[in-house]
Symmetry: C2
């Protein structure tokens, strides 16, 4: 193991998180008038929209609670987290129990989508805040909402569908997000359902989405796991699959370095690094086609911030678990690419969207889909991982 | 007027249409087994998906019928058109009368969307085919379906909504597409409702979407025409507004060069050329923000094929109507940019998607959104426009 490298990275991530990333967002983003957070900001931090994206409200509350729980007991983080939790509870649930996707600054609903990701991010926010505040009613709320998510996933509770029943399919996103939500619930406040449920998610991912014969992790498959040979069915999301890989490697560590899970996580990472890394310009492509046909989504060869956050975590975790120098080299490659290209040296935080060649496509730091989550989570996760590893 | 330029362009468009664009699609795309068209094709024409996009099925049937009506009475065009019309009638309507958006090769439904654009393209296909075939029941069907479209637009028939009622908005797309549908219905098979309805569409566009004070055509506004100062409300689509400009210039010509309509169409073109033309790399940006803030849609600075088709028509029409040399220069600029960058010298037709710098982002000639429409319509419209003008 290259301990010098790991030490250097430990202090890099801690320093970036606390002196660069976090100060871009807080304290200014806590909405003192209406609760929640004002997160849609341009490069220099100026507000471009005062609407609130429910996913990101939950993620920001999770972040502040998590920092309070694991880094330092700063009162401003706890108070900041409370602003988000209260906003979620008071304004982000519809009368049918489902959560909205997009609300106004005051919390009036603009849009509800046909997915339950607002809910999964609220679960981790509630769990982390419950641990920070000691509030047992919020812990109960987290567990209850996780139960609802499991019902959406199993189909016991039905969500409106975008497609007819003609060509049924399922996405890797559901078992992935549920696995990660269960991991956090278990590790933050404890929940007896989680071990079995995580097992089930991993089994589904391995059985249906991981294709060893073609060295690939599918994003979408038929219910029996077969490849749907149409444009959508062939579309791969390498950054997403690499995120799935580190969720599984995280589980491997939790289970005392379970060798089968290590092997599965590393296979997923290997396959999607090969398919996702742009050998010409560097960085990770957004979408690829499993058979290298044209991808329909227009931004398919752009470089987005979050796949790089996921790949930084996955390669570091793989290196620490296996000691395989290949993963250290990949980590160094993606880390350097990302901090060279996405990082805003003037105002802090990262730009979100680069063209394929690495030039900046637009300057927003926050919008309906980007906020204080993937980057600070990566810096926090890597810092803690390295800190704990180097202590031993 | 630069008659030499116009003569050169006349033969260019006719030649491109008949020897480059059309042969890419036909006859091979007519599905002899299931009817309709197989249009999702890679650069070399190989099929990447056998699904059928209902918008494009209608547009292709319109194209073949229109060529039969206006260019030459080729039996293969009439037969080809019939394959699309039958497929639309037999497979693309749901039991509630609404049309699907995406069906399988056999015509089984995959997706129905919350818009009525499948319907508007079916109206023009039915009208053009009715004229070609002399089939009065299809003409009646076109008129009936146009009536349904007007009911969707007025709200008399309700469509499911993507957004809550919190922040009502309306898009320029609805009056634009209805105006153009009415223009074609009127000019192909005649319909008494159309003149008044077109008037109403133009009045709405001028009153609510055209902002002279800031030299802009909005894509979306509040019901009273005010600008919604949020990310979505600020997002402009220059190519779309330029398409609206030529629909209005077309109406001006139809009404014996109505000076007010000429002035309105030219203003819209001027405003959105200023905002949409990329002075650094050439070509028309996909989206812009009215106040130059970051645009959320990821592909905002890419160059898509269709805005260039619309701009080629709009600038040529503006030049022929006004004789203003500025429009000839703009026409030459966008024509040259487009045929230099989009046109596939090897296999014919155009690529659909360029990066901002003009390099090709992906190679598909046809998918769920691209097919034999914008390019052949532009070549057909410009050829006919020039042919009729030069005859005089």
């Amino acid at each position: 193991m290259n301990t010098l490298y790991l030490k250097e990275m430990e202090s890099w991530y801690k320093n970036q998180l606390l002196t660069n990333t976090l100060p871009f967002w807080f304290p200014r983003s806590v909405d003192m008038d209406f609760g929640g957070y004002l997160l849609m900001r341009d490069a220099d931090g100026s507000l471009i929209d005062d609407d609130k994206a429910v996913w990101i409200q939950g993620r920001a509350a999770w972040l502040l609670s998590t920092l309070y729980n694991t880094v330092e007991k700063r009162e401003e983080w706890l108070q900041g987290a409370k602003a988000g939790i209260d906003f979620l509870l008071n304004h982000c649930f519809d009368t049918d129990g489902r959560m909205f996707f997009h609300v106004t600054r005051e919390g009036r609903p603009l849009r509800k989508r046909r997915y339950f990701f607002s809910e999964t991010f609220a679960v981790i926010a509630f769990a982390a805040y419950a641990a920070a505040s000691g509030d047992e009613t919020i812990a109960a709320k987290a567990r209850e909402l996780f139960g609802t998510c499991m019902q959406y996933a199993s189909g016991e509770k039905q969500l409106p569908s975008k497609f007819t029943a003609t060509r049924p399919s399922k996405g890797i996103g559901v078992p992935m997000i549920l696995m990660n939500t269960a991991q956090q619930l278990r590790e933050i406040i404890g929940d007896e359902r989680c071990d079995t449920y995580i097992d089930q998610c991993i089994k589904e991912i391995e059985a249906c989405f991981v294709k060893d014969g073609i060295r690939c992790v599918m994003e979408q498959v038929a219910p029996d796991g077969s490849i749907i040979d149409h444009i959508d069915g062939r579309t791969l999301n390498p950054g997403h699959a690499i995120e799935g890989a580190w969720f599984i490697l995280h589980e491997a560590v939790y289970r005392n370095n379970d060798p089968q899970l290590i092997q599965l996580g590393c296979r997923m990472l290997d396959y999607m690094w090969e398919r996702g890394w742009d050998k010409e310009y560097g960085g990770i492509f957004y979408f690829r086609d499993v058979y290298d046909k044209p991808v329909q989504e227009y931004w398919q060869d752009m470089k987005f911030w979050w796949p790089h956050n996921e790949a930084i975590i996955a390669t570091l975790l793989a290196y620490i678990i296996t000691g395989n120098e290949k993963y250290r080299q990949w980590h160094e490659l993606v880390h350097r690419y990302a901090y060279d290209h996405f990082s805003d040296k003037e105002h802090g935080e990262w730009f979100g969207y680069l063209h394929r060649d690495g030039s900046i496509a637009q300057t927003a730091k926050g919008n309906l889909f980007k906020g204080p989550f993937h980057l600070p989570r990566q810096e926090w996760y890597c810092y803690r991982l390295l800190h704990n590893y180097l202590k031993k």
